[in-house]
Amino acid sequence: MKYELKLRLLSVALLMFALVPAMAAEGFSAKEVVLEHIKDSHEWHVTDLGEGKPLVIPLPIIVNSSTGWHVFSSSKFEHHADANGLRQGPYGLAIATEGDNAGKIVENGEPVLDLSITKTVAVMFINVIILLACILLSARWYKKRQASDGAPGGFVGFVEMLVMYVVDEIIKPGVGKGYEKYTPYLLTCFFFIFTCNVMGLIPFPPGSGNVTGNIAVTFFLAFCTFVIVQFSGNKHYWKEIFWPDVPTWLKAPIPIIPVIEFVGIFTKPFALMIRLFANIMAGHAIAVAMPCIIFLVATMAAGIFYSMSAVSIIMSIFMMCLECLVCFIQAMVFTLLSSVFIGMARAVPEHEH
């Protein structure tokens, strides 16, 4: 009897996986959904209320075309592309949707100078306002009290905990003596990257923007580190690059080690840029792709649908927890490496003997 019961349960379970329809899914492209969340765009597409009714926040377009400067809302562009793949708009401008200039504003096929407030820029403004509010309002607490008063509690205590952690564990050991000059820049790095990463994890506006997952943003952060490191280099630092303490046959007549060291000046910030960009972009791609599994299996048999949906939900929760950790770790690693580079540039040579 028990064996028969098990056989029956097994056959019911197997039947739930049968009857998979032979047709393809009706046009849901997971790759497109993921790329749309990662790429920049001229309007902020929040969601779709039903079929074909997108909820979109239009953003200002600021362009300098052949007819001069124009400022208008992105809702003036058509929603759908015409026969040439262009979304027509005012002043003879159009947004190309395919080809080399996909996503850019073109005028007669050539891209124009585009300084619009795109989605990444708008989210960056929101993140900056949130960051300034958190830090400056916390700083006001300290102005009203003496150093001998009690420690702060609540939100100010949380901000102080983070700031003291970064200063004591990351900046002081990294930069060494004279670290006070660099704490403003390094703390700004840490809190900006941390805030942008965390806001990118929130699925609805004002979050959900891909700021640090955009290579232009991380390029600028790495460029700032590069400039500060080079300008704080002392004579010993430049000597170590161009005439290092290695056997003579490695530096003359063919300067092998100096060339390697010189290239190393550029590769270190480059690695900073790529590390932050790839980590955050991959994290956002996974965070969007996990729920897409549910949409992909929506048209299949009941057994596949329920089991894959359960798998997708568990994977989503796990990946989001991992992403929260990655947010903090990437901000910390960026600040740590920047402070270590600054410390190396200011290194005092140890005395021989």
Partner: protein
Amino acid sequence: MITSLLMDIQGVAQLGAAVGAGLAAIGAGIGIGKIGGSAMDAMARQPEVISKLMTNMIIAAALIEGVALFAAVIAFMCL
């Protein structure tokens, strides 16, 4: 038949991108696994320095992951 498969450059590029990303994942897994293993051994030996070991382990893991993501970004550009 092999040559006609290889003539489809777009398909070969996508295959290359997929294989490259997979190899990068293997590299990251091996590297971070070794770091985690050594950290576990050290923590079991000296439980009083667990927090210091944890910090350094996280830093080393992030650096290794940076290198693996170099490869992932290049694979993405191949697509």
